[in-house]
């Protein structure tokens, strides 16, 4: 799955993959699944098989495990939210149901995907309080599963936060090409979700300045910093609203954990 890690596990892997016929001839593979992949002429299959061997040895670097478990926690938060919402009779109108059901499908898939990558090192799902009441069930979103507008409001903050959370972790995955690419591919799905939920709520699909958009004050930290117009030392900032819309901003792990803390009832 990731060449850098494969290199660590097997310094000859590059050579083998460049010339897999030679590799087979030399009996290079150490496991039968790798041999099958190579024999079928499938480099990706062989790679996947080798990666699985590496996972089995607990080969994921701890920084990657930390990032993926952070992501998994957020995906659990989202998945459970949409599963509950879509499963609650009378909550969602026929007009919005297909949208939220599609999002549910993706978040559930993200949980399964991350669990598969993490294997035995995956964190357990915490218990959640979607009212944002720290477990009291009586937070500012107390009617989240009986009022569609509240449900959509919470959905928007989850998705906009998720986009910023993945963005903030990308650089921590740079040692791992395969996992970085997968994380980027989740990141853009979260952005599609965010855009659609915002449209459902009558908001622009992008974040203007750092305005939450018809959300309670508790959500402001999800949008703090989005007004940034300075992105690179060589590119002068442009003083316009479209500049703030054109760039989404990252959040650190601790900023994200502060944002989601009210939604977590217990580990």
């Amino acid at each position: 799955m990731t060449l850098q890690r494969l290199m660590d596990a097997d310094p000859e892997i590059a050579e083998k993959l460049v010339s897999r016929r030679d590799a087979i001839a030399r009996g290079a593979s150490k496991s039968s699944s790798v041999a099958i992949g190579l024999a079928m002429g499938s480099v990706p299959l062989a790679l996947a098989a080798v990666a699985k061997d590496v996972f089995a040895q607990g080969g994921l670097p701890s920084i990657v495990v930390d990032v993926l478990n952070f992501a998994l926690t957020l995906e659990h938060l989202e998945a459970q939210f949409y599963v509950t919402g879509v499963g609650t009779t009378g909550l969602l109108s026929p007009e919005t149901l297909p949208v939220f059901d599609q999002i549910r499908k993706h978040e559930v898939a993200h949980v399964a995907f991350l669990q598969q990558v993490l294997g035995s090192r995956a964190v357990a799902r915490p218990s959640f309080d979607y009212s944002a009441g720290h477990g009291s069930g009586n937070g500012p979103f107390a009617d989240v599963f009986s009022n569609e507008r509240t449900f959509a409001a919470v959905a928007q903050t989850f998705e906009d936060t998720g986009v910023r959370a993945y963005k903030g972790q990308a650089a921590n995955l740079m040692g791992d090409d395969g996992i970085l690419e997968a994380a980027l591919r989740i990141h853009s799905v979260e952005a599609r979700h965010a855009a659609e939920v915002r449209r459902l709520r009558g908001q622009k699909s992008w974040i203007s300045i750092d305005i939450p958009g018809a959300l309670p004050a508790i959500t402001q930290p999800t949008y703090d910093g989005e007004a940034n117009r300075f992105h690179f030392v060589l590119a002068r900032p442009v003083n316009s609203i479209s500049m703030t819309e054109a760039f989404d901003e990252p959040l650190t792990k601790s900023q994200v954990m502060d944002i989601v803390a009210p939604f977590i009832a217990g580990a």
Binding site: L3, Q102, S188, V189, H193, A195, A246
Partner: protein, 227 residues
Amino acid sequence: MESETSSIGRRGPGGQSRRDFFRTAAIAAGVGTPLILSGCHVIGAAGREKLDFGDDFGVLNYAYALETLEAQFYQQVVRTPPGNLKPGEFEILRDIGAHEVQHRRFFKRALGVLRAAIPEINLSSINFNSRDAVMAAARNFEDTGVAAYNGVGNRLRLAEFLTIAGKIVSVEARHAAAIRDMISPRSRAFAGDDVIDANGLDRAIKPREILSMVAPYFKTPLRIAGL
């Protein structure tokens, strides 16, 4: 075919040396130094004719080329909008166009002397009088942009550049969802099964394939190296 192994020797050292690399590059570009050196490794040259994926600036030039295409497309839409747009749609297309102009301007300024010459854009195959044609083209440009950034992120060596690419790609994904929702309102299309796989992953497409997808929109081919 892009070799899976080509990335092995490419990835530079991390940590402090990566920051040195960034600083060296930034300072050199700022004073217009034609050649940028990091150790003994040439990473960029002025007046580039090609998108050279051998270094981060090649990746940024690739993004610059795609943003240039998108910006010109929306500028044309705003100049000559289809007569049958629905209420509110013009404003959305205008906003998106403004974002793409910001992206193009950003790369232009950030790349400075390392900016590649982008061939003239050719949008003559798009019927700008037709809402359906404009929306379909916009959807394709946005979906392609998302897949392009997703497919090239792991070529970047500098964390700063990866973060910038991340700041832009999520906005492209927002655009894609908005356009798709205008085409098929309140449906699953905003993140449809045609672009999102069973693991819930968006597309990631490598530069060579992306460049062949957008080739019809450039009057002369984008020349590439380093893949």
